[in-house]
Amino acid sequence: MPYIQLPEGLPGIRGPMAFSPQTADPLNALVNVLLRDNASRPDSSLTEGERELIATYVSSLNDCFFCQTIHGAVASHHLGDDDWSLVQSVKCNPDQAAISPKLKALLAVAGAVQQSGKAVTPELIAAARAEGATDLDIHDTVLIAAAFCMFNRYVDGLATEAPNKPDLYRYRATRIAADGYASQDAYMPPGESTPVAGTN
């Protein structure tokens, strides 16, 4: 049960976001720029799917069930990973996953950020550049990893509840891919209003 009184029927980060709209707005603005808008900048070589993979990987390292499941579902949606096997392989062993050498090098940077910002070495940065990473790719990777060290702690530090039905995450992934991150839209599919607690 969450540590504070949160609106019912809103899982994961959506509960605290409804509790605190004034912080929800900049939090959603931040992820929309990092995971969506910046993918189309000319100096970016990271796609939306790859950005979501970085968020998923860091959330997995932090053992945050809600964040790794929803961002994994969004990554799979973008990457045509219907059975979620690619996302699973990135979480378990990124070096062996079917992703580009550049993304592997950036995941190594993200993994260092998850430990500590000071763990990012010039060697890790040089390895990413050697595979074609731009300044913006490196910047966005570091900030995505850092931001998920915040989101994961926000979600778990208040003991929010997470649904366990994969289909609900698949549905949310299609909504997020279409409309972006927001805190005002209805969470459940049309016609379904099962409170989250009932799905656990």
């Binding site: 004034q22 931040l30 500590s116 910002g117």
Partner: protein, 184 residues
């Protein structure tokens, strides 16, 4: 030297907000909401919020954020400014309200591993008068500084070593709050 090309002469997060204003804007808005406005039912002062930020930054060993937010907290505490260094040195022995001590304990757990925040820690804070808003704001301040600290250190931004530089920053943060630096 920073890992990427950043505007010269600007320290820490300021160099990053000028490099990428699209992310700088929400990052500064979040800091303003958490360190100044706060949740409607929260009892935490701006000085206490800055102290939680400095405390978490010290745990993360991020000198830029620790020194700048400690300076802002000292400025806002005014005559009681010595409390800031007392807390950073040893929160258990500092002469601060039991409520703030209990909230710092929650912040400590959020930094180390948010899954270790417990019913007992939250109940202890409530016993000392902490509201839902205090608990929410403490968790998100601690969580957000686990982001700001990693962002500043992960790109190896410039960290001034002169204490006077931080005193000036603290006064600016204490009077003006958080506004995205102008691109020059």
């Amino acid at each position: 030297m920073p890992h990427i090309t950043l505007p010269e002469g600007l320290p820490g997060i300021r160099s990053l907000a000028v490099y990428r204003p699209e992310t700088g804007q929400p990052l500064y808005e979040l800091a303003q909401a958490l360190l100044r406005s706060g949740s409607p039912d929260s009892t935490l002062t701006s000085a206490e919020r800055e102290l939680i930020a400095a405390f978490v930054s010290k745990q993360n060993c991020t000198a830029f954020c620790m020194n700048s937010h400690a300076a802002a907290s000292r400025y806002l505490y005014g005559d009681q400014r010595d409390l800031v260094d007392d807390v950073l040195n040893n929160p258990d022995n500092a002469s601060i309200a039991p409520k703030l001590k209990a909230l710092l304990a929650i912040a400590h757990h959020v930094q180390a591993d948010a899954r270790t925040v417990s019913n007992a820690l939250v109940a202890a804070a409530r016993t000392e008068g902490a509201t839902d808003g205090d608990i929410h704001d403490t968790v998100l301040i601690a969580a957000s500084f686990c982001m700001y600290n990693r962002y500043v250190d992960g790109l190896a931004t410039l960290t001034p070593t002169d204490p006077a530089a931080y005193e000036a920053m603290g006064e600016r943060m204490g009077t003006l709050g958080y506004q995205v630096p102008k691109t020059t």
